[in-house]
Structure formats: structure tokens, C-alpha cells
């Protein structure tokens, strides 16, 4: 596969990036942790799309999943807990030339980062946001997260989590200006990769919730769907996440869902027809704040001085 997937990107001669050009330190997640699969998927996408490693930035918060940047040989920003999104927005604001991936956990994004999450969806700046949802705080060793299921025993709720989990998809769909909302599973590389690839190609903020196994703390939470693919509802559509027919066959329970239909997206997100994977919603016309923030980027230096002078002149006496 070395440097051959060049359908939309014409590499300059000698500029073929191989998988190892994206591989850095050995990943130190637990064996079987779903994060490994996502890392592999992203490295593949980078390679397939021939994203120059030096023009790619992975931004994260704090958590197991937020160690992600350390394992990529791109630029990385391992930020603070909950702050991945505003950090990534800042990077994006004046750098339309970079490819930005964000790694964030269910605690990082939906708990401490919840305010930024709402607003990041609203800003809709081009980047791929991967929500690693393992229904738990992994790095700090097993505390309840907003997506922990009711009754889940954790160190902060040894008698079981008291509240129903929030649904990150439903919440995201409630935010004005959402432009790409998808869900996938770490244990199905083809769907995972297809979803993340679609996310990368979307012009705006792509929000992808990845149901991520944490064998260490929430080992069996996805077993119902891992053991029985019919519990999964595969959403397909020409405008959605495309998977090869062979792959689709593995999902007996599938539906064609037009991602421009938000009402249907919300209904499907309820999960009554099965655990939905694929693209819930896409609005290619949502405003992009990064198109505002890059204005004037090319202003020549002399023009800057002239502008300051013009403004100062208004205060001249």
C-alpha cells in the first residue's frame, strides 16, 4: 500500500509517507484497549491521504485516550484536562494549512470540557474530533463518567452510578450549527476507518463518538453488541459513511439514513432500533468560524503598519 492511495492527493515525487512516518513511541495503553485500534485507523488514514506529518497536529486533553498524540509522529499538543477543543480552535484559527485531529475522552469532553464541547460544535472549525467513550475515567482509575451507565460500579460510586448516562450524540444534535455527527466502534476496523476518513474529508468540525473498549475497567459494556452484530444498527447512505458491501453484510440490522434529516437522526440516536453506527447528521452548509478567523491572514507587513498608523491618526492631537 506504500504511497499508492493518491486518488485525491498528488504527492510530489519522493514524498511518499509510509505508515511508520506516523508511528512514534510505542503505545502504552493496556493490552486490548480500544485506543490502539483508533491509533491504527488514524495512522492508516494519514498514510492513505498522504497527510504530511509536519502539517498534521493532534491535540488532546488529559486521560488515557489523550495520550494519543505521543504515539503519532506528527506535531502534537497534549493539553490540559477538558481543554483540547479550545486549544485546537486556537491552532486552527490562523492555520488553514494544518490537518487537525482532536482526541478527547468521555470525562474530558462531556464532563470538565462540556462547555467547550457545546461551543466547539457551534464554532464548527474544520477538525476531526474523536470522542473516546469508554464510559469511565480510565487514567484516574475508575471513576464514574457522564456516560457511565446507571448502576455501573466505580470508585466514586461503589454502590453504582446514580444517574442515567448522558447521550453525547443527542446532546450534540441539539446544538445549533452541528455539521457532522457520527458514531462508530473501535472493534470494527473497517467501520472505524471509514467513519474517521469521512470525518477527515468533511469541511467543518466532525464529531465522532467512538465506543471504546476499556478492558481494564469497563470490560464487558459493549459485549452485547460485540457478541451479536444484530444489536447494532448500521446506518448507510450515499451521503453518509460508506462501507464496502462485504463489510455491510456483517451487520444484519441496517438502515438507510439520510444524514440531512435531523429529526430522524435524533430518533435513531435514541437507540430503539439498535446501537446506531454511521453518520447521523451532516450539514455541509453550517457556518465555519475558521473562515472568519483566517480573514486578513495574508495582510502584508507594510499594510499592517499603515493600518496602525491610520488608527493612531484617529487619536492624534
Amino acid at each position: 500500500m506504500y504511497g499508492v492511495k493518491t486518488d485525491w492527493f498528488e504527492p510530489s515525487p519522493g514524498c511518499h509517507y509510509d505508515l511508520e512516518d506516523y508511528e512514534s513511541l510505542e503505545a502504552r495503553w493496556c493490552p486490548g484497549c480500544g485506543d490502539h485500534a483508533v491509533l491504527t485507523a488514524i495512522q492508516r488514514i494519514c498514510r492513505d491521504e498522504q497527510l504530511p506529518p509536519h502539517e498534521t497536529v493532534v491535540v488532546s486533553g488529559i486521560g488515557c485516550s489523550s495520550r494519543f498524540p505521543h504515539y503519532m509522529k506528527t506535531y502534537g499538543f497534549h493539553g490540559l484536562h477538558g481543554r483540547a477543543l479550545p486549544l485546537a480552535e486556537g491552532v486552527r484559527s490562523r492555520r488553514p494549512d494544518l490537518n487537525i485531529f482532536v482526541a478527547t475522552g468521555d470525562g474530558d469532553c462531556c464532563s470538565i470540557g462540556a462547555g467547550h464541547w457545546i461551543h466547539a460544535i457551534r464554532y464548527n472549525m474544520k477538525m476531526v474530533v474523536m470522542l473516546f467513550d469508554n464510559n469511565v475515567y480510565g487514567l484516574t482509575k475508575n471513576q464514574t463518567s457522564p456516560t457511565s451507565s446507571h448502576g455501573q460500579r466505580t470508585n466514586t460510586h461503589p454502590r453504582g452510578a446514580w444517574l442515567q448516562p448522558i447521550d453525547p450524540i443527542q446532546t450534540t444534535l441539539g446544538i445549533t450549527n452541528a455539521s457532522f455527527v457520527a458514531q462508530t466502534i473501535d472493534w470494527h476496523p473497517a467501520h472505524l476507518t471509514a467513519t474517521l476518513r469521512a470525518a477527515h474529508k468533511h469541511d467543518g468540525l466532525s464529531f465522532v463518538r467512538i465506543l471504546q473498549r476499556c478492558p481494564h475497567y469497563t470490560d464487558d459494556i459493549f459485549d452485547f453488541a460485540r457478541n451479536d452484530a444484530s444489536k447494532i444498527l448500521l446506518m448507510t447512505h450515499p451521503d453518509g459513511v460508506e462501507v464496502p458491501a462485504a463489510v455491510a453484510k456483517g451487520f444484519p440490522n441496517a438502515t438507510s439514513h439520510d444524514p440531512s434529516n435531523i429529526d430522524e437522526a435524533r430518533r435513531l440516536a435514541c437507540g430503539e432500533d439498535g446501537l446506531p453506527i454511521g453518520l447521523f447528521y451532516r450539514n455541509p452548509d453550517a457556518q465555519r468560524y475558521d473562515l472568519f478567523s483566517i480573514e486578513g491572514l495574508a495582510t502584508p507587513r507594510a499594510e499592517k503598519i499603515a493600518a496602525v498608523r491610520r488608527v493612531l491618526d484617529g487619536y492624534r492631537v
Binding site: H54, G90, E295, V308, V311, R316, V317
Partner: protein, 622 residues
């Protein structure tokens, strides 16, 4: 003073004039008009806004007083001064608010609208009359004048016309030409995009006031001025910060509104696009600084502008910027604290937070401009220091600088002041992302897009490769390297100049906006033969060097600050006394028994207060 019967105007060196009205009556506009003309003529000027606490306060209420103070004189004016010489009050209630603030003294001339004396509402009339008696008793030189009546001859809505009429009248009083006022009126209303009709109406008002003054004022004054040798600009400190950002080539201002800092961002929002920049109003202060850090990491050193409560929220991310060695400029326009405190009022209470307020050891640069002009220039300095030393730089201004206006030399802008374009040349493969220089702690910085420069920035302890590393020796070394940058910067600083004599009985040490008032007090006292000097710090972290030596030359050293310290009145032992913030730092650094005179009046310290403090300090010794 004003009743000497002479036809030649009386020459004075300076005067303090206040305009005060209900909000919406335009006392502020009038004051700005007056001040601009003074500045244009070459006079020294300092203006301070008088802002009501509410957004639409009731009319004729103390809480509603809105206005401006203008101190102008033959020489440079560096602070708001003491009590006013002349106050124009549109009603007696707003005047009371100034009396409450201690803005008047015996003998202050009070120009007051006489319309209330004959008001149809009896209670209003009574209130006015009672006040007039009270004012007389307080020893003010009260001059009721027909502001409303005269204005009514020209307009139906006198609330919209009085202000300019008063300026015309004062032009006569201060023997000033009317032409520059007419120009300025045109400029102001043009800027507000009003039509010629409005300008004409105001010109009429101006001339009417002037004519009335020439006819009715028994005494006239004159402040002799020389035309300024260089062109000047007049603005407040927040505008200066905004302009300074632009002049520094900063392109991203990421902020969240907070008084008294927000207006800096407003000025930027209005003008930044001309220089290719943009203001990001984030969802909160945390996001604001995170966004700024993201932009800076990606090569565009950003600024975030806030005040105390916002600084509190940014604490964690500033720590990250220190740890990740990310250039970043943070402006803290200090207000009264703690907590929500006094949102519109001045204080210098954030110094220790800026220097010591971040968990762990977080060395960073802390600067404090002492004038409005420095507010402008220090933004250029701050960006350069941030990039050179790969560090956040905190710039501490305050509500006094933010809203005070003064003229300063038109800056000689330079392309050198602008940040360099983002370096996107390939990175030398062998250079590490934190290849610390052992002496200076400085290291070259890879920026995303530089081929071969890939690294992962992290707030975790890390080695030169930016790999997470927890070894003892490595942690000690990395901390040392970050600290070393402060030593390196300090080595390039000069001791602060000493104003007054090189030695003496008392040295006042200040920082930030108090400089003008401190130096004025020092000059006044030295003229009386008192051996007092002052030194003013612009660098708080690292501190300017040579202080121990300077302090040794004085009998006593005392800081003057607008923040809290336990006074001497009560029975607290010296060891347990909670001291003012700079004093804490100086005592620790120099082991000199630096005392402090500090107050939290929510007001700038006038020179007279500092003079009182100097007298007390020296008499204690005697």
C-alpha cells in the same frame, strides 16, 4: 481667586476641572472635547472618567453621576491630581456624588445649573435650595448659571445641548480660542457619523456658551502652554493596549468580556481587521486563554486581556504555557478585589497572583506599565519577550490606566515591532524541541508546519525531546532551565532610575499606575526640602536589579501601593503583619525592612495622600 477684578486673564500653571451630569446628558463628551483641545494646544492633560455603577441609573441621583475629570496644565500631567478647582454640575445630586468621593475642597468653584431653583416640582426645588445652602456652608465658591435656560434658546432637548454650551462658556473662562473647539466638535460628530446638521447645531451651542461667558464672567483665567514639539496622540490605557497589540504585530486577541478590561478588546474589534487580526470572544476565560495558547503554539503569539476574576480562571492554563514554554501575552487590567470586588475601580491587588499564583514553580515574566504611553509600548516588549524567552508574559495595568486619558508622543512605528512571519523552514533534525541552553534556559522552538520539527507539547514533566520523563534529576534540571530564563532576562535589565536624590531619608518604591502621583508628591516634598526620592519598578518578575544597593542609601524604604496591608493602628506584631504585595516581594529579596503605605480606596491615590504618607513616615522616625 476668581474674584480678583481684572480684565487681563489670571495666569495659572494648571487646573482640575470636572464635568458631572446624569448619564445621557453628555458631560463625558463635553469633557473629552475640552480635554482634546487642551492636548492639541500642547497642554499637559490627564482625564479620568466618572462612571455610574448602573447602566441606566435614575436621573438626579448620586448613583447616576456620570462625567469626567480633566487635569490640564502648562507641563506634563501624569495623574488625576487632588481635589478639583472647578466642577460643572448639571444638578446638585450628581455633585453630591463627587463630594462623597472627596473630589472637592473648600474654595472649589462650583458651576451649577440654576434651573432647579425654579423647578415646578416642589421637592426638587427644595432639594436644590437645601443643597445650595449646604454647599455654601462647605465653603465652595458656588456659581449658579443658566445652563438650561440659555440652552433652551437654541434647542428643545436641553439634555442634549447643555454640555457643549458649557464647553463654550469654559473656553471663555480659560481664555481659549474657539476655533480649535469648533474643529474638535466637527471631528467628534464626524467620527460618530452624525450629519452636518448636528455639527452646525453644536457649533451654535458652543458659540452661545462662549458669548455668554465673555459677557458674564467677571474673571478670566489662562493656562500658558507651548505648542508641543512632536505630534501626539491622546487615548486611554485600554486603547493604548489595543493599539500596542496591533503595533506589535499580534493578530489574535482571544478574550472574554470583563470590566474594566473589555474596552481594550472593543477597540481591537473595531480596528483589528485593518491590520489583518481578529478578536475571538470565547465562551469563557479558560477557553479564551486556551485558544490564545493554541494560536501561539501554532506560531501566532496571541494576547488575552482580562481582569482579576478572569486571571483566576486562567491560572491553570498559564501554568501549562509556562511548562510547555509557549509564548503568550496576558494583560490583566486590575480592578478591586478580592472576588467580584469593585469591578469598575482601581486596585493593584493581582501582583502576587501574577508572580506566585500558579501551583508549582511557574516562572514567567511580569511587567507593569506606569503610564498610558507605556501601555502602548509594553505590548511590543511583551510580545518580543514572550517569543525570545518562550514564556507567557503578564502585563499588569489597572482601572486607572485603563480609563485615564493622556497625550503621548506619536509612536514611531517600525516593521521590527511586528512579529516575524511564521517560520516554516525545515527543522534541523538533530535539534531537540527543548534544547535548553545551560546558561540562559532558552531553546529554539519548532512550529507546526516545520518539516522534521514534529514534537508533542505536554504539560507533564518532560525531557529535552518533550518526552514524558519522571526521573528525579531530569525534573530538577528542567525546572532549573525554566527558572534560568528569568535570571537571563534579569541580567539584561538595569536598576530602576531613582527620582529625586540618590540618597536621603526616605525612598518610595512603587509599581504600575501610581508613578505619576508618587513622583509628583516627591517633587512637591523635595521642594519643601524633604529628602525623599522614589524608584518605580516596571519589571516585577524578574525584578529589576540593584535594589538592595539603592535601598541602602536611604534611611527608610516604603512602598506605596493600591492594595491591602494591615495598618499600624492595631496590635499586630511586625512578624505577623499582613503586608502589601510589592513590600512582601522586596522584603524577601533584599531583607531590607521595607515598610508599606497601602490603601484600597477604589480610587487612584492622589499626590496629596502620598504626601501625607511621606510626612507620616518621616515623622515616625523623628
Amino acid at each position: 481667586m476668581m474674584d480678583v477684578p481684572t480684565t487681563e486673564p489670571l495666569e495659572i500653571r494648571e487646573h482640575i476641572v470636572e464635568f458631572v451630569s446624569d448619564s445621557g446628558e453628555g458631560a463625558q463628551t463635553a469633557g473629552q472635547l475640552f480635554a482634546s483641545v487642551c492636548a492639541r494646544s500642547g497642554a499637559g492633560v490627564w482625564t479620568v472618567e466618572i462612571i455610574p455603577a448602573e447602566i441606566e441609573p435614575p436621573v438626579r441621583s448620586r448613583a447616576g453621576a456620570s462625567g469626567i475629570r480633566i487635569r490640564f496644565g502648562s507641563e506634563e500631567v501624569t495623574n488625576m491630581g487632588d481635589e478639583a478647582d472647578l466642577v460643572v454640575a448639571f444638578n446638585e445630586q450628581v455633585l453630591y456624588s463627587r463630594i462623597d468621593q472627596g473630589a472637592l475642597r473648600e474654595g472649589t468653584v462650583v458651576v451649577i445649573d440654576d434651573v432647579w431653583a425654579t423647578h415646578r416640582d416642589e421637592s426638587v426645588k427644595a432639594a436644590y435650595n437645601a443643597a445650595m445652602e449646604d454647599f455654601a456652608e462647605r465653603g465652595y465658591d458656588v456659581r449658579p448659571m443658566p445652563l438650561d435656560k440659555e440652552t433652551a434658546k437654541l434647542t428643545e432637548n436641553t439634555r442634549r445641548g447643555k454640555n457643549v454650551w458649557v464647553v463654550g462658556m469654559l473656553a471663555a473662562w480659560y481664555s481659549m480660542d474657539l476655533a480649535p473647539f469648533e474643529d474638535e466638535v466637527a471631528r467628534i460628530f464626524n467620527r460618530k457619523r452624525k450629519g452636518q446638521a448636528v455639527i452646525d447645531a453644536n457649533h451654535k451651542m458652543l458659540r452661545a456658551g462662549h458669548a455668554w461667558g465673555q459677557k458674564n464672567l467677571p474673571v478670566r483665567l489662562r493656562v500658558p502652554v507651548e505648542a508641543a514639539p512632536k505630534p501626539k496622540v491622546v487615548m486611554n490605557g485600554n486603547t493604548a493596549v489595543a493599539m500596542g497589540c496591533m503595533a506589535a504585530g499580534i493578530e489574535v486577541c482571544s478574550m472574554y468580556p470583563i470590566t474594566p478590561a473589555t474596552s481594550a478588546s472593543h477597540y481591537l474589534a473595531a480596528a483589528f481587521d485593518q491590520a489583518g487580526g481578529f478578536v475571538h470572544q470565547a465562551e469563557d476565560e479558560i477557553a479564551a486563554v486556551a485558544f490564545a495558547i493554541g494560536a501561539s503554539y501554532a506560531g501566532k503569539t496571541a494576547v488575552t486581556i482580562t481582569s482579576g476574576p478572569g486571571m483566576a480562571l486562567k491560572t491553570e492554563l498559564i501554568g501549562l504555557a509556562v511548562m510547555g514554554e509557549i509564548p503568550l501575552v496576558i494583560v490583566d487590567v486590575q480592578r478591586g478585589g478580592p472576588s467580584t470586588g469593585l469591578p469598575t475601580k482601581v486596585e493593584q491587588g493581582d501582583l502576587l497572583h501574577a508572580v506566585y499564583g500558579h501551583p508549582g514553580d511557574a516562572p514567567k515574566v511580569v511587567l507593569a506599565p506606569s503610564t498610558i504611553e507605556e501601555c502602548f509600548h509594553y505590548m511590543v516588549t511583551a510580545r518580543k519577550l514572550a517569543e525570545t524567552f518562550r514564556t507567557p508574559v503578564i502585563v499588569l495595568t489597572d482601572a486607572n490606566l485603563a480609563t485615564g486619558q493622556a497625550p503621548f508622543d506619536y509612536p514611531e512605528l517600525s516593521e521590527d515591532w511586528l512579529s516575524p512571519p511564521i517560520d516554516q523552514s525545515p527543522w534541523s533534525g538533530s535539534t531537540r524541541p527543548y534544547e535548553w541552553d545551560d546558561k540562559t534556559g532558552i531553546s529554539p522552538r519548532p512550529i507546526p508546519g516545520q518539516e522534521g520539527g514534529q514534537f508533542v507539547l505536554t504539560g507533564l514533566a518532560h525531557n529535552e525531546k518533550s518526552h514524558i520523563a519522571y526521573e528525579s534529576a531530569l525534573n530538577q534540571h528542567a525546572m532549573e532551565m525554566r527558572s534560568r530564563k528569568m535570571a537571563a532576562l534579569r541580567a539584561s535589565l538595569k536598576p530602576p532610575p531613582v527620582v529625586g536624590g540618590d540618597d536621603g531619608d526616605l525612598l518610595i518604591v512603587g509599581w504600575g499606575s501610581t508613578r505619576g502621583a508618587i513622583e509628583e508628591a516627591v517633587h512637591t516634598m523635595r521642594a519643601e526640602g524633604v529628602k525623599v526620592s522614589s524608584a518605580h519598578l516596571r519589571f516585577l518578575a524578574p525584578m529589576e536589579p540593584g535594589l538592595t544597593e539603592i535601598f541602602a542609601r536611604f534611611g527608610k524604604v516604603m512602598t506605596v501601593e493600591i492594595n491591602y496591608s494591615d495598618g499600624d493602628a492595631i496590635d499586630i506584631d511586625q512578624e505577623g503583619r499582613r503586608r502589601s504585595q510589592l513590600a512582601i516581594m522586596l522584603r524577601s529579596a533584599t531583607l531590607v525592612d521595607v515598610e508599606s503605605w497601602s490603601r484600597v480606596p477604589g480610587q487612584p491615590l492622589p499626590p496629596s495622600m502620598i504626601i501625607g504618607a511621606i510626612r507620616d513616615a518621616l515623622s515616625e522616625d523623628a
